[in-house]
């Protein structure tokens, strides 16, 4: 008689003989990963795992997962949930094509390189079933020095409250006011972002940039929602120069279904030109806010388009946002 173990063997959902995980020589992706592993030896790794938001965790890719190691994730602290940004259409709206043109012009005048490091504020709902979907809004600052040393600082902050603590971007960086420091990491010389995704310098040209994004964010080369997520995660690592800014808005302008939404005053009080994208049938909507003068991505906000009682979500509620400070 067939015993329970035999039955279970027959029910193996992943075959070694067929399908994507079958035994065979390494494919190109696996070979690439193997070749890159030794680069992780640069410097002595003392980095800690910091899962600082579910949003970031979802966007994290190969090497970020690999090397941002140990330590404790910041605990989710209840805070009021953000309200969605409101866009107002008007005749003064600047079209995406015009923003691309301006960004290209700016890039031609001053190509300027992208800088490793980022500064942004973010929030993502906690998605704990039956509980209020809130987490602590936070501000993250990452900077790298010429010798490959660097730091990453994260504090609690809410952009809607002017008196709330913010990061003072100086040397050394510090949290001003009474903001709670969620994480404070320092990297020794030689690391230079090797523990992050997108650790190689971004290429010039929109198509090349898209291919580059797809290396760390598979799907970015053929799925618009994945492309937007990839751009978000890229901007969490790099502060783009004029050239990459132009490439990014060029990529956005190629997204079919990206619609003008109007002018928006974002959570940091900046006015930008917003564009909306609703990938069907995702149940989510992206609002991308651009600086109409140079094409900088100011904000990316995700809202849900359907009610979800389990997570106490209503259509239109914010699921996450990111606002880049610089």
């Amino acid at each position: 008689m067939t015993d329970e173990l035999d039955l279970l063997r027959e029910a193996d959902p992943v075959s070694a003989d067929t399908g994507p995980w079958r035994d065979r020589p390494l494919d190109a992706r696996a070979e690439l990963l193997l070749r890159r592993l030794p680069s992780q030896d640069r410097g002595h790794r003392i980095v800690r795992r910091v899962i600082w938001s579910l949003e970031a965790a979802a966007a994290a890719t190969i090497l970020a997962l690999a090397l941002t190691v140990s330590g404790t994730p910041s605990s989710a602290v209840a805070a009021s949930r953000p309200v969605p940004l409101v866009a107002h259409a008007s005749r003064a709206d600047v079209s995406l094509a015009e923003i691309v043109r301006r960004a290209r012009t700016a890039a031609e005048k001053s190509p300027g390189k992208s800088e490793r490091g980022s500064h942004f504020q973010s929030w993502a709902l906690s998605m704990t079933s039956g509980e209020d979907p809130v987490t602590l809004p936070r501000e993250s600052l990452t900077r790298w020095n010429a010798d490959g040393s660097g730091f990453s600082l994260e504090v609690a902050t809410d952009p809607r409250h002017p008196d709330h603590p913010v990061i003072a971007d100086g040397t050394p960086p510090r949290a001003v006011h009474d903001g709670k420091v969620l994480s404070d990491k320092k990297y020794p010389a030689g690391i230079n972002g090797a523990d992050e995704s997108y650790f190689e310098d971004p290429p010039a040209g929109a198509s090349a940039l898209r291919a580059y994004l797809a290396v760390w964010s598979p799907g970015a080369d053929d799925d618009p929602a994945d492309l937007i997520s990839a751009i978000e995660s890229f901007l969490a690592v790099w502060t783009p120069g004029p050239r990459q800014r132009a490439d990014i808005v060029t990529l956005l302008s190629r997204i079919e279904g990206l619609r003008p939404a109007g002018k928006v005053t974002d959570r940091l009080g900046r006015e930008g030109q917003a564009f909306r994208f609703t990938p069907a049938p995702s149940g989510m909507r992206y609002l991308i806010v651009l600086d109409p003068d140079d094409g900088s991505v100011l904000d990316v906000e995700e809202t849900v388009t359907r009610d979800d009682p389990e997570y106490k979500l209503k259509a239109g509620d914010v699921m996450s946002y990111k606002a880049w400070v610089s």
């Binding site: 329970e4 173990l5 039955l7 279970l8 063997r9 027959e10 029910a11 193996d12 959902p13 992943v14 070694a16 994507p20 995980w21 079958r22 035994d23 065979r24 390494l26 992706r29 696996a30 990963l33 193997l34 592993l37 030794p38 992780q40 790794r45 795992r49 899962i51 579910l54 949003e55 965790a57 979802a58 994290a60 890719t61 190969i62 090497l63 997962l65 690999a66 090397l67 190691v69 994730p73 993502a124 906690s126 998605m127 704990t128 079933s129 598979p218 799907g219 929602a225 990938p279 049938p281 995702s282 149940g283 989510m284 849900v304 359907r306 979800d308 389990e310 997570y311």
Partner: protein
């Protein structure tokens, strides 16, 4: 052979086995599996001086930790996205209602899913990863006898769940009051599940 060479060999030999290990447990899209597998080998690379002579069970142990981290970080987010329809449903056809259904292996997965996670893992490692009891101990971080005991108990609980499913199937086919009997069986299943946690 240098440590780096040994790692290289282990990587080439076991990359797909580790990928299957992750794919069986992540229930995600291919790129998600690839991300976790990349993490597994990145962690393994950093710890390569610990690489044992027989590296696969050790790699599975690393993979278990990486999966736990990935699931902790992404699970709720992914579940919501899946619920909202953002991701393709990846489980369709995986489970069916009864032993008489078209895919006979699938209801065994249903029986498996009723067990405590610890029991499920012991059984998966034994059958799908084809580990010996010694290797089981390596992955689970316990001794051989403890691993054997855990396997023994998990097998018994799986048998009970299979029998429960079979009984449920007979009841639902032959009796109009099957709903109440099924509820009773579900209670028993819950008891068995709790037993597995104990």
């Amino acid at each position: 052979m240098s440590t780096d060479d040994a790692f290289d060999d282990a990587y080439r030999e076991h990359y797909w086995a580790v990928s299957r290990f992750v794919a069986r447990r992540l229930d995600g899209q291919a790129w998600e599996v690839e991300e976790v597998v990349a993490e597994v080998f990145s962690v393994a690379w950093r710890r390569r001086v610990e690489l044992p002579e027989s590296p696969l069970p050790w790699l599975y142990g690393v993979a278990r930790h990486c999966l736990a981290n990935a699931v902790r970080g992404k699970g709720r987010y992914r579940r919501l996205l899946a619920k909202l329809g953002h991701h393709e449903v990846t489980r369709d056809g995986r489970t069916v209602a009864s032993p008489d259904a078209e895919r006979p292996g699938s209801w065994v997965l249903e029986a498996l899913s009723r067990l405590a996670e610890a029991d499920q893992e012991v059984l998966r490692l034994t059958t799908w990863e084809e580990l010996t009891v010694e290797e089981l101990g390596t992955v689970l971080g316990c001794g051989r006898s403890a691993a054997a005991m855990r396997l023994h108990r998990a097998r018994r609980r799986l048998r009970e769940q299979i029998e429960t499913l079979r009984r449920d199937d007979r009841v639902s086919v032959g009796c109009t009051s099957g709903k109440g009997d099924k509820a009773h069986s579900a209670d028993r299943a819950d008891e068995a599940h709790k037993d597995g946690h104990a």
